[in-house]
């Protein structure tokens, strides 16, 4: 199922979400070979960062809670990845994060020279004290980050990844559009939430709180994509809990162009990309329509 996204031809409308699997080039290649249209590298930061101690990820069956905490070798220590990127035959998104507008700009400047197909600005991670969500909940801060990055990257299309914690996610998306974003990706994890073990009376995650993902957050994701579609003209990567082709179709009807997949790798394996694509294809055939026909159809 070929799809065009910002001028790139993708083999499938499915996208690997940032933070899932994307730790090295080999695994990204494997995900692509498993039918994923667009793969996203794990968020890249300005300096080396370990992330949080374990427990960092807990599977709750109907979704996951995680506080991995943005581990990154730092963009200056990824020579092998950058070299591998040169030899790729599939499109890739480089996700980046920073603790300030300057840091975002600095990472984006360097990363855009490595020629990823897209740069995703992670202005929405709930699992770090200084990064992410602080930007994504403020329209002016979102505008500032996107605008500053746009000035240094020039031609690499920018995707702003948004948080469902924003009071009005449509307004944030609009601010990103005004700042120069080329697409929106929504949503990052929901929350943060917390699990407490009642025997030890201790929060289970070492960082205590963490973002929710997976099927349990899908209705929030669908609503966010619906709001963003109303507020902007930008293409949207809709994600949050998509596990089946039906889930992906629902997200397209809310207004998404592509369907992101993250936690579902846990529930259906890496072949989930092929499975979802096949199920979408079947649904479209059964209903005699195309993806374009149903995009935003719920509006």
């Amino acid at each position: 199922m070929q799809v065009n996204f910002l001028g790139k031809n993708l083999i499938s409308p499915t996208v690997l979400a940032s933070g899932i699997l994307g730790n090295n080039f080999d695994i990204l290649q494997r995900v692509h070979a498993s039918g994923c249209g667009l793969v996203t590298m794990k968020s890249i930061g300005p300096t080396p960062r370990d992330g949080h101690n374990n427990p960092t990820v807990i599977d709750l069956g109907h979704g996951m809670i995680n506080a991995v905490g943005l581990p990154s070798p730092g963009y200056l220590h990824m020579e092998k990845e950058w070299a591998d990127l040169n030899n790729r035959d599939f499109p890739i998104v480089a996700s980046i994060y920073g603790a300030s507008v300057d840091e975002f700009q600095q990472v984006a400047d360097y990363v855009s020279d490595k020629k990823p197909d897209f740069i995703e600005l992670n202005i929405s991670c709930p699992n770090s004290e200084k990064h992410g969500m602080l930007f994504g909940t403020s329209p002016t801060a979102s505008f500032d980050v996107v605008n500053a990055v746009k000035k240094v990257v020039k031609t690499t299309p920018l995707i702003a990844k948004l948080t469902p914690q924003a009071l009005d996610i449509g307004e944030i998306a609009k601010a990103c559009e005004d700042g120069g974003a080329d697409a929106i990706c929504a949503i990052n994890t929901l929350g943060p939430g917390m699990l407490i073990d009642i025997e030890s009376r201790t929060p289970i995650l070492d960082f205590k709180k963490g973002g929710l993902s997976g099927p349990m957050i899908r209705p929030v994701a669908v609503r966010c994509v619906y709001d963003i579609f109303k507020a902007t003209r930008l293409p949207i990567i809709g994600l949050g809990g998509i596990t089946t082709g039906a889930d992906a179709i629902e997200m397209i009807m809310a207004g998404a162009t592509l369907a992101g997949v993250g936690s579902a790798v846990t529930y259906r394996g890496i072949s989930v990309f092929k499975k979802i694509t096949r199920e979408m294809d079947q649904w479209l055939k059964d209903h005699g329509c195309t993806l374009e026909d149903i995009r935003g159809a719920a509006h």
Binding site: D26, I27, Q29, P55, D59, L60, P71, D197, E199, S200
Partner: protein
Amino acid sequence: MNKPNLTVEKKPIMFRVDRTKRETPDHVTLFFNGTIQFRPGQFVMVWMPGVDEKPYTISYHGPKTFGITVEAKGRFSRKAAAMKPGDLLGIRGPFGNGFDTGTGERVCVVAGGCGTAPVAPLIDMLGKDITLIQGARSRDLLLFKERYPSLNGHYCTDDGTFGHKGFVTELLEQAISTNTFDMVYACGPEIMMKRVFDICEKQKIPCQVSLERYMRCGFGACGACVCGAERVCIDGPVFNSEKLRQMENFNQKALLKSGAEVPLSTYASWRCGENISTTN
């Protein structure tokens, strides 16, 4: 469309330590009352509230009890080795593929150091014509030395205080020259497993080895433990000869906590508790 089953919650299940057993000066086994369905070679994530969570294999498995064996070498394992009956630990899992045990009658198990713990339930399960080759730094560090009195055991130590003075690989070459094996299982330092693999390749004997990498989720989502395109937590931790031939990073590279790929020796120093920054 198929709806996946989304009902299985995998939070840590809390167990109180029932009893502890000092196995060697470096190794302690923690026993728990309870049962856990698992295949030899699978692992569990062991959570010490407020401290950390680490992968361990089940080293003892009875109808009403199971145990994990820890080597006291890092911040977590030293605390674990000092635990007392009644102390709480959380267990998440089991995870991973485990050893493939449907592999013929004549098997050889090669274990080095604390790599003896993951193969112990395998030996319990196979319980047939097994050749055990076990090595340790010194006599008193040979884990479970008295556990399998009826086995055909070959031992070596680095210092020669028990058995052959030298490496398990030398004993394996000897054993291969006088026996026919359908399968060789190995667990121990990665360089040992690489040498076992090389010997098996030369002799055209299939083998399975159990790898170790820094892990977070344990179920194949986060990617922290990737070895090339393989997720050690779910595609492994046991890899067979066919897979190992494709794995360029076997005995070469591993990821630190930051995700930085480094030579295995750097990774090993960090894991052995050396106070080096994982992000350098």
